[in-house]
Structure formats: C-alpha cells, structure tokens
Amino acid sequence: MPVMMNIQTPLFEGQLICLAPIDHAKDPEFESQWTHDAEFMRMLNTEPMRPLSPVQVKKKYEAIEKDIEESKNLFYFTIRARLDDRLLGFTRLYWIEWTNGAGMLQLGIGNPADRGHGFGSEALRLLLRYAFTELKLHRLGATIPEYNSVARHLFAKAGFVEEVRRRQAINRDGQRWDLIHVGILREEWLARLA
C-alpha cells in the first residue's frame, strides 16, 4: 500500500503533540530540571548522569544546532503539546549514513507526569514517517538499556525488533545489564501501515 500523503499532509503535527524547533529562551529551564532526574537520565542513555544548569543546557542547544549545520546527519526536534505548546520532550535522528540510508533515533519525555499519555508513541510515529518518507531512509535503529522496559515496549509497539544484545555493556548500581539495539526496516514500517 502506498503511504497516503500529499503536499498538505502535516509532517510535524499529530493529534496530541507536535514536533517543533528548540525554543532557546524557554526550554533550557525545563530541560535543566530533567537532567537532575537520575532515573530519567539513566533510562535515556548509558552515559553517567550529570545535571546541567539552564546555561549549560543553552550551550548544549547551540552545540546541537552547530552540529546540525556542519555534519548534515542530525535532525533534532522538541516534542510539544498541541494544546498549549508546552515542552514535553525531545527526539532526534542521528548518525545518518546517507549513502546507506541508515540512521539512529532517540526520544525522551522529560517530566514523569507527562509519561503514559501516548505522547511518546505519537512522536515516534511522526518521526518514523518523517524518516522513511521525507528523508527516504532504509532503516532506523535505537539503543535501549535492558532495564528500560517502557522504551522497549514503546519501540516494539512501533514495529522495531531486537537486533543486537551487547551483553553486560552497562554497569549500574553494581549490576550488569545488556544494551539492546532494536531496528526497523522501511518495508517493515510500510507493511504495518497496510
């Protein structure tokens, strides 16, 4: 089945959320709070959790936009509520290998009260459509710590399958966990739309 889209199809708008650019004035304060949430930071990636002040977040945003400009293989979006444009989280496509059509994806909903409302699922749906139709990628991957069952469920629901298990690659609180790589191919994404 062809993807039913035309020039009027809004790429960045869902029912609950929209994908939007960074708001350099307002966002740093919110993201700074998220970086103080150890659980969130440990779910998101494997790096040691480290809180950032609003000024540091601002610098990070500037570095991201510089990277976008120079590397041409990164797309970064904030996730905002349709209702009031409130910042909910962020998502990015990174390490895009243009000649191979392969890319990586990451997504986070920052405030615990905003989780479980379907914001992440919808953002993921929009991002997959963007990656496969607008960017014409062939495959997408994501890495998820074994202990992040919410993300594993979210990605599985969107059609990602487990591809790699880096055994014991994570050490948290004296315990070893695997780092799981999940992936989805273009044709798998298309088949699910049918």
């Binding site: 790096e47 290998e97 495959r139 790699v164 298990r165 055994r167 690659a169 070893r176």
Partner: protein, 191 residues
C-alpha cells in the same frame, strides 16, 4: 610483571609518530577495498596532511578514550597495520576495537589475529575493562574468522545496514567478556 605486554608471536604493538601513521593510512586508503572493509561511509581519498590533522584532532578530543597502536612484524619491524581501542567508556568498562592491515601481501598471515590477542590482553589486564565490542561487515569473512579465533562472539546483526555494489549487507556486532577472554586465553596456553 610482564614486560612483553605488547609483544605477540608474530607482531608487536608500537607508538609511531602521527606523521608516519598518517602517511600509511593515506597510502593504504588508495586501495578502495581496504576502505570498504573498514568503513561504512563512501570510499574516498585523503592526503597525508588531512589524515594527520584528523588524527591529531581525534587524539586531542579523545585524550583518555583512544588507544591507537601501530602493528609491526617481529621479523623485520615493518609497519603492517593499525589497531586501537576507540571510545573507552570507563564508567561501564567497555570499548570498541578496530583493526586494519594495509597491504594485500600482509593479509591472511595471522598478523591481525595476533595483534588482536595482544590488544585484548592489554584491554582486560591493563585497562581492566569488562568487555570489548566491535562491528564488522557481513562480507568481511576473513575478519569474522579472525575475531572468532580470539574469542569474540556474535551478539547480533544490524540488518541491511550497508548498501554496496547493488545489494544490502548486515553489520555484525561481536563482543567478548572479560571471563570469556580469560577462559579462552587459558585454553590457548593448554593447547
């Protein structure tokens, strides 16, 4: 103590001047197959000067996470390859490893396997890592055999990652844990 930490049966690992490393990388890269076995981005040519700049920047950026060695033969001390831990993550005790042998007459002689044995020993008993990872393209069966020989196990496949010569190829992830390396090294001694 072990003064032979960086010496194997066929090769030893050394530190060469960036200029020499850059010149060899630049020369080896003129063989497109070398590049396509090594990297996922399009094969292209790099001058020694550009390579040196890239190398010095990498060494600067990754001061505490990049361990790059040149591979020299014990027979006549000629420089045949490069091997390195790239991106050591100290908090989890993990690193990726990459190895390449530049000239075709040096392929298939066991230099890479020997260099990898030395490097694993260094990674586990000097850096005290918990695991070492690598990625290899599905069409590089010579490398896969070599990695299996030193104890790496396949941990999964990034499906259809590469698009080359009109078809799709997987990128294979391999890994070796500290305990596995230890058991494997013991077995080697017994044999």
């Amino acid at each position: 103590m072990n003064n032979e930490l960086l010496t194997g049966d066929l090769v030893r690992l050394t530190a060469e001047d960036p200029q020499i490393v850059a010149e060899t990388f630049s020369r080896w890269g003129r063989d497109s197959e070398y590049w396509r076995l090594l990297a996922a981005d399009p094969a292209r040519l790099h001058s020694a000067r550009a390579t040196r700049e890239w190398l010095e920047k990498e060494m600067d950026n990754q001061r505490s996470s990049l361990y790059l060695f040149s591979i020299c033969t014990l027979e006549d001390d000629s420089l045949v390859g490069q091997i390195g831990l790239d991106g050591v993550v100290w908090s989890h005790g993990e690193s990726f490893v990459g190895v390449s042998l530049g000239e075709r007459q040096n392929w298939g002689k066991g230099y890479g396997t020997d260099a990898m044995r030395i490097l694993l020993h260094y990674a586990f008993s000097e850096l005290n890592l918990q695991r070492v990872s690598l990625t290899v393209f599905e069409y590089n069966s010579r490398a896969i055999r070599s990695y299996e020989k030193v104890g790496f196990k396949v941990e999964g496949r990034v499906r259809q990652f590469l698009n080359r010569d009109g078809r799709r190829w997987d990128m294979i992830f391999m890994g070796i844990l500290r305990e596995e390396w230890h058991n494997h090294a013991l077995k080697d001694v017994e044999q």
